[in-house]
């Protein structure tokens, strides 16, 4: 290409027949670029379908909740005009009764009174029955005054709180799930307040998740560092054997490993039996090591350890032994050389390992679910609960989005501190 470029003309270089060089170059490499694109296309499509779309859907679901307008289409429009004082006007009550009757009849998936009741129950616990019970009788109200008739069915229809909540959920988009995910709620006056301390769960668990993840990451680092050092410095034959021992758990099913820890740590388990047998502890004072935080920490450290060892190892492998020798020849003690010369060079590995382990730990689910017991639960277990058991997918999505945001924030901080190009994952 260079031979056709006009010499000595740095700007607007053209080929010999006058085509700008850049255009000519683009044309020449187009085929290659198309081929490259074709090669990555399957992966791109896979990422799009398996990653981008679900996450987009999750983010969307955490604020999109069309149940109000879906179940009560006409009411959702007229309630917007209510000023929030006293009770809505009679005309609004009439629309409400007719919408409820229609919803009860249609029974279309996602647009039933049950869906509405569930939705309102998120906002006002205990109000579910008000909707489901009233819905069964509401078709009997055929003429006005609708307000009195409805209140005749159930006194709770007199409560302003119900109507303010209905007004609020009559929009397709809502912040309530993010409020709920941060232990906040709307009170009777539509003000955002903290939930009753007895019902606050997400912030404490989120905090605990972060704290436990940090602790697990730290323990992993403490354990992995010397192991990686050995791996990187031992003769090949020995280190290969050690590497297999590190990777062996990797090739074993996660469930099997976690279950193995249950067998090890339960009160009638191997560790306790040995302690009792050797009379370190008495039969009565067997230690509770599983179904609590300790169990979660032990099992997760074990499971996440390879993710710390591998990046550390790959970095340490590239640090030749002569740096330490050089430091010692320059008069530094072993410890000083380690701290000033060896350790700083392993920082990319430490950074990669801690980031990897921390992010994995934050979102870990199976292990805490199996061995977490009462106080070893993490935020992912609550998310799974909402997706699988309570079916409050929107709240699960909001929690998932917050978790995602936390991970991204940590990634950003890391990028600032270490620089992502400096991370070495192996």
């Amino acid at each position: 290409m260079t031979d056709v470029a006009a010499p000595g003309a740095p700007e607007n270089i053209t080929t010999s027949d006058g085509v700008p060089l850049k255009v000519s170059l683009a044309r020449a490499t187009r085929r290659q670029r198309m081929q490259a694109l074709l090669l990555v296309l399957p992966l791109l499509l896979f990422l799009l379908v398996a990653f981008v779309l679900p996450i987009g859907e999750m983010l969307f679901r955490s604020i999109y909740s069309p149940i109000g307008p879906d179940v009560l289409p006409n009411f959702s429009k007229v309630i917007q005009e209510w000023d929030g004082e006293d009770l809505p006007p009679e005309s609004t009550f009439e629309v409400f009764v007719k919408d409820m009757t229609a919803a009860r009849e249609s029974n279309e998936i996602g647009k039933t009174v049950g869906n509405l009741a569930t939705r309102v129950n998120y906002e006002i616990p205990g109000s579910r029955g008000l909707f489901t019970k009233s819905a069964r009788k509401v078709k009997n109200i055929t003429e006005g005054p609708y307000k009195e008739a409805l209140i005749g069915l159930d006194k709770r229809w007199e409560d302003q709180h119900i109507w303010r909540t209905l007004q609020r959920i009559s929009s397709n988009y809502t912040m309530s799930f993010y409020l709920a995910a941060t232990d906040r709620k709307y009170d009777e006056n539509n003000d955002i307040v903290m939930a009753d301390p007895l019902y606050q769960i997400y912030l404490p668990i989120m905090g605990k998740t972060l704290w436990l993840s940090a602790l697990i990451t730290f323990i992993c680092l403490l354990v992995a560092y010397p192991v990686s050092y050995l791996l990187a410095t031992l003769p090949l034959r020995t280190s290969n054997l050690l590497m297999i021992m590190v990777l062996l758990p990797f090739w074993t099913s996660l469930l099997v490993r976690t279950t193995a820890w249950i067998a090890m740590l339960q009160t009638e388990g191997i560790v306790n039996n040995i302690l009792v047998f050797t009379r370190v502890i008495s039969e009565e004072s067997r230690i509770q090591m599983i179904y609590n935080q300790t169990g979660t920490i032990v099992a997760m450290v074990h499971i996440l350890l390879p993710f710390m060892i591998l990046p550390l190892y790959s970095v340490m492998k590239t640090i030749p032994p002569y740096y330490m020798r050089a430091a010692r020849s320059l008069g530094a003690t072993g410890t000083y050389s380690f701290v000033k010369v060896y350790f700083p060079q392993t920082i990319p590995g430490i950074a990669a390992g801690t980031l990897l382990v921390f992010i994995l730990a934050i979102g870990y689910y199976i292990t805490p679910a199996l061995v977490g017991g009462s106080d070893g639960l993490l935020i992912s277990n609550l998310i799974a609960d909402h997706i699988k058991k309570t079916l409050n997918w929107s709240l699960g999505s909001a929690l998932g989005a917050i978790l995602l945001a936390i991970v991204l924030i940590f990634y950003w901080i890391y990028n600032k501190l270490v620089g992502v190009d400096n991370l070495k994952f192996g």
């Binding site: 398996a50 779309l53 679900p54 987009g56 859907e57 999750m58 969307f60 679901r61 999109y64 069309p66 029974n107 279309e108 998936i109 996602g110 647009k111 039933t112 009174v113 049950g114 869906n115 009741a117 569930t118 129950n121 998120y122 616990p125 205990g126 109000s127 579910r128 029955g129 489901t132 007895l198 019902y199 606050q200 769960i201 404490p204 668990i205 605990k208 339960q266 009160t267 009638e268 179904y291 017991g373 009462s374 106080d375 639960l377 609550l382 609960d385 997706i387 699988k388 058991k389 309570t390 079916l391 409050n392 997918w393």
Partner: protein
């Protein structure tokens, strides 16, 4: 847009749930697995196949309506009939994911009583038909408990007299009921009492007294295992699971019926089930008087039809008389209450959060 997104998530949420072949002449019945599914296979599936030639494909699940909801919303239903708890049946019906079932089309009892009168009160629902009555009770290992045996719900909470771990279901239901009963509320009045907000505090305060000794279980198979392993001294459990451990595995477990909270399991048909007609045929067949009575031969859950009770005989080994093992036996009902699904439907979400917060403290 919304429809597309919903579909995409639902498809993904389904994950590994296989699309069972909806071939001609077969039916996919979903239930809770283990000894319970086995009893259904013996009492319902096998006679049904013998009679109609329709094969039944048995699938296990762990309860809840999440999977059904995902299938129905995705428009890709592979399950034909599902064994659900009452609260799930009600909620699924409210949300429109179960077919409506006209109770008047159900066969009359063996004694000729129409179905609506033959089924126990509250066991027929708009979208579901009950098959069994089951109960959450507590049990202990007779060889480890010592000379003094616990007899009341209060004894379960008495960790001074009976020092040791307690197995409890991880969730508010029915621990709140148990706590109030142990605290002196008559079983029959429990839900009346629970309607008062201060009673929730009272129940949690009672649970506080055994929190340090608690071992939490989630799947029904866990409590007998915990007892057998000596991990706990007493545990709450489903009565059928304890009975099977005693009858089939000769475990020295004893059930304490005082304060039991009983509930029903029902058949429900997901909206859009691929073999709707056959599912309905199976539902009617399996809830006939004789089939319900037969099931009691294999597991200690009571038949939902009154006409089945006199037909209940002995356990499959021919030795144990099944009558007294049923939650519905008169002796067992002395201090008992039926799970109030409506109260739970109203309060479940909030109480789950409070329970989790309490656990995490």
């Amino acid at each position: 847009m919304k429809k597309f997104l919903t579909t995409s998530l639902s498809v993904l949420a389904l994950g590994a749930v296989s699309t069972a072949a909806s071939a001609e002449g077969s039916l996919t019945a979903v239930s809770w697995g283990g000894a319970y599914t086995k009893s259904q296979v013996k009492a319902y599936h096998e006679p049904f196949t013998a009679k109609t030639g329709i094969k039944i494909n048995s699938v296990d699940y762990s309860g809840g309506i999440a999977e059904v909801k995902a299938q129905v919303e995705a428009g890709n239903v592979s399950w034909d009939i599902v064994d659900v708890e009452l609260s799930d049946a009600v909620r699924g019906c409210d949300e429109g994911i179960f077919e409506k079932i006209d109770a008047s089309t159900l066969p009359a009892g063996a004694d000729g009583k129409p179905a609506q009168e033959d089924f126990l009160p509250g066991t027929l629902h708009e979208c579901a038909v009950a098959n069994i009555v089951w109960s959450t009770i507590y049990a202990y290992d007779d060889t480890k408990i010592g000379d003094k045996k616990p007899t009341t719900m209060a004894d379960f909470f008495d960790t001074k007299t009976w020092e040791g771990k307690r197995g409890l279901r991880k969730g508010p239901k029915p621990n709140l009921e148990f706590a109030l009963i142990a605290d002196g509320v008559a079983a029959a009045d429990v839900y009346e009492e629970l309607a008062k907000p201060e009673s929730i505090d009272r129940a949690f305060a009672k649970l506080d007294t055994i929190k340090a000794s608690a071992v939490w279980w989630e799947a029904g198979a866990q409590p007998p295992q915990l007892l057998a392993d000596g991990e706990v001294l007493m545990t709450t459990a489903y009565n059928g699971r304890i009975f099977n451990a005693v009858a089939a595995e000769n475990k020295p477990f004893v059930i304490v019926w005082d304060g039991q909270v009983w509930d029903i399991d029902l058949w429900a048909i997901p909206k859009g089930a691929p073999n709707m007609d056959k599912a309905m045929e199976f539902l009617k067949f399996s809830t006939e008087t004789q089939q319900l009575a037969n099931q009691a031969k294999y597991i200690a859950y009571g038949p939902a039809r009154m006409s089945s009770a006199p037909l209940v005989g002995k356990y499959e080994d021919g030795k144990i008389d099944m009558g007294p093992q049923m939650p519905t036996a008169a002796a067992n009902l002395a201090n008992a209450v039926q799970n109030d699904f409506e109260w739970w439907a109203d309060n479940q979400d909030a109480l789950n959060e409070r329970f989790n917060a309490w656990l995490a403290q």
